[in-house]
Amino acid sequence: MITIKSIRKLEKSEIESIKKEFKVEKDQEVKFEIDEKLIGGIVVRKDGEMFDGSVKGQLEKLREKLYARVI
């Protein structure tokens, strides 16, 4: 199963692009979730692995970089 999180309901073309990019089989179940905490972008979970393309995730990476520079 594959789970796709986003802040809004995705368009069909966007879903197809995501399925294509993550090589989702035609008969594979896809679950969609709305999560406004992501701010923007998507988070894909496939086969126990997470791919974070959300604005929130990018900001968290930026926060980690800033912390690393601080310390």
Binding site: E21, G41, G53, L59
Partner: protein, 165 residues
């Protein structure tokens, strides 16, 4: 001559007789009283001599005792002086050791205090920088939330899909 002696009452017989008597008395006294007196005197003399010798011996002994006493006092004074000197040196050494240990302890406390203050300062600076970073991220989130509409969100997704290849 005889006439002269007779005129003054001198009687030769009487003189001789008296002389003989005197000699006899003298011999008797010599044999009895004088002998005892002489012996007594001799004993007395011997006693005095012994007393003098005893006195000399006592005086010599007293002198010896006095010398011994003086020696004992001198030795005691020297030993006391040595003890005082030894204790003084020991006390000075102890005082020096205590002073050095106190200095080391004081230096350690000072150094630890400096390190503690420096760590607190460093921690405070790090905390401030982190808080500043958090505030910057929070402010950025708010700005993006306000400006990110569906179109921009779509662009964000497209870009991610392009980058993830």
């Amino acid at each position: 001559m005889e006439a002269v002696l007779e005129s003054i009452g001198f009687n030769g017989t009487a003189v001789i007789f008296s002389t003989v008597n005197f000699l006899i008395v003298l011999v008797i006294l010599q044999k009895t009283l004088f002998g005892r007196v002489g012996k007594s005197l001799s004993e007395r003399k011997e006693k005095i001599r012994k007393s003098l010798e005893d006195a000399e011996r006592v005086e010599a002994k007293m002198n010896a005792i006095e010398e011994e006493r003086a020696t004992i006092i001198k030795n005691a004074n020297r030993e006391a002086s040595d003890i005082v000197q030894s204790h003084t040196e020991q006390a000075e050494a102890q005082a020096k050791t205590i002073k050095e240990e106190a200095q080391v302890a004081a230096d350690k406390i000072t150094e630890e205090g400096k390190m503690k203050v420096e760590k607190e300062r460093s921690d405070m600076v790090d905390r401030l920088k982190k808080e500043t970073a958090d505030l910057a991220i929070l402010a950025t989130e708010k700005i993006i939330e306000e400006k990110l509409d569906a179109k921009k969100d779509k662009a964000v997704i497209e870009k991610y899909l392009k980058d993830v290849k």
